[in-house]
Amino acid sequence: MSNKIKHVGNARHWPGLLLATVFFFAYVYLPIVILIALSFNENRTVTVWTSFSFDWYKMAFQNRDIINAAGNSLLIATVASTTATVIATLAAVRMSVDNFKGKTIFSGLVALPITVPEIVPAVATLMFFASLGITLGLGTVIIAHIAFCIPFAYLPIRARLEGMDPRLVEAATDLYASPVKAFFKVTLPLLLPGILSGMVLAFIISLDDFVTTFFLGGAGSTTLPIYIFSLVKTGVTPEVNAISSLMLLLSISLVSLSLFLGRDQSRK
């Protein structure tokens, strides 16, 4: 009797759960799979499969606009993510040991760029730059990207610091390391995986950004998402499928890297 009750009671075997999960993953992954499949489609009509081909990738790589856009994307993402990571690391390290009145306010402030819908700070910053008479372009895009990359770098670093045993730093100072030496010999090496993981996430977020770049960009700051958007708006071409697929693959490899770096090795 108890055997039967246990089987019915076991939530692992409830009907419908598996079905919902299969539906969920199909919903999430099927469009991506179809997009990637179509990027290898020889046919120009985009949505009807004829035969396998690398033509669209070749075309994409020969397109100067795409190469320029990719260059801009990488430049912006590299500068924004490294700058944001340095700034975020400094703040996170200090926040973990400091106690001051505005501490909660600062925590809220750091999270602000990811709390509000992106369109709002994007147009607000647009008006800010325009009112100051600053010409929109790569510079304005990079500054705005730094601002919204900070929380993405800050939060994982802060989390890692929270998980760190405060006695390790005490042990270092007990063993004659000055606070500066203790930071470089103990805190930083232990924090490094968190920092790298945060930096990669910030890099992806910057690389994938559309809204902020769209409103704050100008001539010469076209990134890949902006280029893809303009192509999609004027009419779908198979080339878009090829660049889009490449962007997806890049993001997927980077996020895998970030999760690999950020995994907690001390836990088993």
Binding site: T47, L90, F106, P117, M127, S251
Partner: protein
């Protein structure tokens, strides 16, 4: 020690840069936006500084006729209401799909849990624009869905799928679904499966167990998930832009328009403030709900 820095100086040196970047390039622009929303409009695209005006807020409901009288214009309010409606719809669909998925994930072995969490997280980090573009390929008149349906002989004419509210709801759900699954999973994962067994042992049916045991335990996750889906849906720009077309604008697109073709900064700023206010209301609701259930999502 020579040249030793005071705690205040260290703080300024380390926390200062982050506070400065976000303060100058996020907070000040937002304050400026609030100020601009009550300024007079310069028709060449900009503001007449110092000329206080409530025109931008009036414009949300009224239209100024040529003779300077006001008449009610519900077009903009409709866009706002549609945004709220589509975001609610997105939240409900996400909950219906996300909850059973989260429950499924929470009842797997640790190894499978890790794999499933990774698979749920992965799409979030891929390009939002590209993922929404993929749906164009599915929803177009000659896209994958219509193609399959006509190949099966179910339809003869392609169904109008793209540029509908349905398309926007599908796209928004698609964009933010992981935000629903992960917090619910997090609250269910802590659950002791033996609780379910003991409920059955005490003569509860499946439905009763779900209603009396599992859902109450998942409430903090459900509330967090709903907020995490609702808030970004409300401010969505890319999805309605790509999948909605001109007829299914949302607040985000209306704001965007004011800085493009319409060139109406005060109105764009006022809509921005409205959107922020809606977000604040949602977050306050969340905070109150969380306090009531006494749960924590961290």
């Amino acid at each position: 020690m020579a040249g030793r820095l005071s705690p205040i100086k260290i703080r300024a040196l380390l926390i200062g840069p982050a506070a400065a970047v976000i303060g100058i390039f996020v907070v000040i622009p937002l304050l400026l936006m609030a100020w601009i929303s009550i300024q007079g409009r310069d028709y060449s695209g900009g503001v007449i500084w110092g000329e206080l005006s409530g025109e931008a807020y009036l414009r949300m409901i009224f239209e100024r006729e040529l003779d300077d009288s006001l008449s009610v214009n519900l077009n903009y309010i409709m866009i706002v209401l549609r945004s709220v409606w589509l975001s609610l719809l997105t939240t409900v669909i996400s909950l219906l799909v996300g909850f059973p998925t989260a429950l499924f994930m929470a009842t797997r072995t640790p190894k499978w849990k890790a794999i499933l969490v990774f698979m749920v997280t992965l799409p979030f980090w891929t390009n939002l624009l590209v993922r929404n573009y993929a749906w164009i390929l599915l929803l177009r008149d000659h896209g994958a869905i219509n193609g399959t349906l006509s190949w099966l002989g179910i339809i003869s004419e392609p169904l109008p799928l793209l540029h509908t509210q349905l398309a926007v709801a599908i796209g928004l759900t698609y964009s933010f679904l992981p935000f629903m699954v992960l917090p619910i999973y997090a609250s269910l994962e802590k659950m002791d499966l033996r609780l379910v067994e003991s409920a059955f042992d005490l003569y509860a049916t499946r439905f009763m167990t779900l209603r009396r045991i599992i859902i109450p335990l998942a409430i903090p996750g459900i509330v967090a998930g709903c907020i995490l889906v609702f808030v970004p849906s409300l401010g969505a720009y890319v999805t309605p832009e790509l999948l909605g077309g001109g007829k299914t604008l949302m607040i985000g697109n209306l704001i965007g328009l004011q800085f493009g073709a319409a060139r109406n900064w005060p109105f764009g700023a006022a809509l921005g403030i409205l959107l922020l206010a809606l977000v604040m209301i949602s977050l306050t609701f969340y905070a109150l709900k969380l306090k009531k259930t006494g749960g924590d999502t961290k």
